[in-house]
């Protein structure tokens, strides 16, 4: 029987563990994004008082998804991982105060696989926006918003 050295065995185990658990480089990254939960957002949207202020709510995922269901009052921006989507995002906020509360969301995929929210968040950060948050959806918009019975709108 062939025996492998301890460091080699450990390295192999760590490699496969990393393969199984690491998110994609472009995926949403909780450590670098300011997030809020669906429940926190819902609470803000339902609040009757002006505080905290209602955010600008931007959908930065696929239009195919937005048409099926989106958060009422949210605007379709375009996919945050495409040049067109980012350009539209920059245009949309070009005349907006840098202190404006903005919430980005997508929900196309499990959180650590979402390709759109990080680039959109980074684009706003680079423009100097200081109050941007991303809606944290662990699984997807269907599971984490629609199936919970939270309000949706449909169509363009």
């Amino acid at each position: 029987m062939r025996h492998y050295s301890f460091p080699r065995s450990l390295a192999v185990l760590i490699f496969f563990s990393a393969l199984l658990t690491s998110p994609q480089a472009t995926a949403a990254d909780s450590a670098s994004l300011k997030t809020l939960t669906p429940e926190e957002l819902l609470s803000i949207l339902n609040a009757k008082s002006a505080k905290p202020p209602k955010p600008l709510l931007f959908h930065v995922g696929s239009h195919m998804f937005y048409v099926q269901a989106h958060i009422p009052g949210s605007e379709y921006i375009g996919q945050g991982n495409t040049p067109d989507g980012l350009q539209h995002l920059r245009q949309r906020v070009s005349n907006v105060s840098k202190k404006t509360f903005i919430v980005l969301y997508c929900g196309c995929c499990p959180w650590n696989h979402c390709p759109t929210v990080n680039p959109a968040y980074d684009a706003l950060a680079q423009m100097g926006f200081t109050n941007v948050k991303v809606l944290y959806m662990a699984n997807n918009f269907g599971a984490d918003w629609v199936n919970k019975g939270y309000p949706i709108a449909r169509g363009e």
Binding site: L20, Q68, Q79
Partner: protein, 169 residues
């Protein structure tokens, strides 16, 4: 030496735990969707041919909703290509419905991944017919009578599909 063995055991335990957690994440979302008829649809595939689900009655169909920008979908598709090769003679047909907003990236992806089954770009209406496609991938297994046997949400181990279709052969 004993300490090293202990560390290896702990790391191996973590590895097994991660694997189980990953499997639960994919198969845990799986829900038997009941044996309701799979909604029929007609799309034009990337080759310009009519893609109509009812034309595949008598075959076992894996209907995969995916997108080019969806990383878990990318992981699954090579396995679907393999399954199509392996089981087409026994009556398996895989159908891909992309939820991309436009066709060009889908066409490029199809060529790059050598997808050997029909692929079409879907519509929100079709997604609605299937209960909403609000997270990817979502994959349906449909039996020879055109009934939905199962629905899988999230990346699913190919062995799960293989076991299911073998039960249906």
């Amino acid at each position: 030496m004993k300490r090293n063995v202990l560390i290896v055991i702990v790391v191996a335990g973590l590895l097994v735990f991660s694997w189980i957690a990953l499997r639960r994440h994919s198969s845990g979302d799986q829900r038997a969707a009941g044996l309701r008829p799979a909604p029929d649809f007609s799309l034009t595939d990337l080759s310009g041919r009519l893609l109509r689900l009812s034309d595949y009655r008598g075959k076992i169909v894996i209907l995969d909703f995916w997108a080019t920008w969806c990383e878990p979908c990318k992981q699954e598709i090579p396995h679907f290509v393999e399954l199509q090769n392996k089981y087409s003679a026994q009556g398996l047909q895989i159908l891909g419905v992309s939820m991309d907003d436009s066709e060009p990236p889908v066409r490029q992806f199809q060529q790059q991944f050598k997808m050997n089954y029909p692929v079409a770009v879907g519509t929100p209406k079709l997604a609605d017919q299937y209960g909403g496609v609000l997270g990817l991938p979502i994959t349906f297994v449909i039996d020879r009578q055109g009934r939905i046997v199962s629905r899988h949400i999230g990346a699913t181990n190919p062995s799960v599909f293989e076991a299911e279709i073998q039960r249906l052969f």
